[in-house]
Amino acid sequence: MAAIQTEGLTKRFGDEVVAVEDLDLTVHEGEVFGYLGPNGAGKSTTINVLLDYLRPTEGTARVLGHDAQDETQRIHERIGILPEGFDLYDRLTGRKHVQFAVDSKETDDDPAEILDRVGLSPEAADRKAGGYSTGMAQRLALGMALVGDPDLLILDEPSSGLDPNGARQMRQLVRDEASRGTTVFFSSHILGQVEAVCDRVGIMSEGRLVAEDTIEGLRESMGSGSTLELRVDRVPENLTLDGIEAVSDVTAGGDVIRVTVTDPTVKSQVINRVEEQGAVVTDISTQQASLEDLFAAYTTEEVTA
């Protein structure tokens, strides 16, 4: 059973605006899935349909095997959410918020322990949420999401409003939850955070899913592998790497040779060939094609996946 599955999901606002179009998305149980795309690509709309804040125009969405619109309560008993554009109850303390989630989910979690996990101090927990910074509010909402040890976390832009340290803690938390077997589905337009934690990603562009794959898989389909950078005493004249199939590009300048390979296992072969042609390799470094590059390629050009 898939943790999340949408079939032909379409959401239109009025006659003109198509926020999500014919979306077929599958998130498997136990995986960390990054849902990517620029602002306005339809990420939040998808999530809002999964959470039944919005009703689909066409198609269906199932979460943990239940219909998102007809069996909402059963789903929400088992998931933790961090919605986009939420607000807290200004007059209630952080602790009361977590207690409310505990009461609502009928669990026996200790609010103090939850608050500690998301990095809110006991002093902060006893203050009214109306005085919280964006980052604190985000932490508190995340804490509420963790109540009841959910099977699935749906996080909409979880790092927004967090400082770099907070964002790092957020990534650690996602990893911790994933290692406990929790499926994590989260959206982001900041890609550096996704690359490190995701098993698979989906890329949205203008309401459509333009890619759905592992990061490795995406790299392959884009043909942009890693770049091998060799520092040499001198660049051999008429340098040639013909015959190594996985080499897609070679550039040289000064005392540096840059070789783009689509298969990382050919690196030693490349180094051997360079040395055979009379150069002494003094330093080696490799650079992965960043997800940023992939992302830019998917969302700025016309790409059919």
Binding site: F13, Y53, Q73, E77, G85, D87, R91, F100, A145
Partner: protein
Amino acid sequence: MSWLVVARKDFEDAVRSRMLWVITAVFLIFTAGAVYVRKAVLGGTPGLPDATQFLTAPSGLIIPLTALVVAYLAIAGERESGSIKILLGLPHTRWDVVFGKLVGRTLVVTAGILVAFAGAALTLLALFGELPIVDFLLLTLVTVLFGLTFVGIAIGASAFTATRSRAMALAIGAFFLFQVIWDFVPLGVYYLVEGSLPGPTTAQLPAWYYLVQVLNPKNAYSQGADIVFSGAGPVVPAEMLVGSSVPFYVQNWFGLVILVVWLVVPVALGYWRFERADIG
């Protein structure tokens, strides 16, 4: 009992609002003051039952105001701010939200009514040296129902709309409709039907005239409260009506029915709309 969790949190949230305490204080001043002024102006003439019943006058004005102010933002305010996403993200259905809010805010208004009526009871006791306890408690009960009705109207308005400003427009509209405009409705209908206005010499009025009157929840409340003092029977004697009998809707008990209708219908309409709404 998901609605119960919502109701409890909502009550805890609402009692922390300063507005509530201001309104309760105003209400207390009005009830205790009304009893005092009534006695002071009319001297010893009115008996204790009259003085007790007179409480319905300030209640008829202040309770709608209190209930509307306390409840009109209950749902629309959360939709506008976005806290509704936290609420609905937890395992609560939209009905749990509407019903829980109705219960929570009714408790808030009821607390205000109890404080104000306790003050009025003490004032009665001080002025008359005694208190008709049973009558007083029954009157309090009918008043709590009246409060519930107006919380229902406000929750209905709040569930019906997506923004604070529209919920406020509906709440203010409801207040003026029932406090001011409705007083002219029976007269207007009479004028349309009879071609003239009923004057001081008009000995008999048609039964429907009283029906149109009691359809206003404020009048339904004073009629329902009159059960405590004059019984559940006719609002006016048969000889004051056109025709020979007193229909069921010209009975005091019918006021309670109208209060329940004004509770159920707005909440149902609001829920119907809220259930279908996109919350973005």
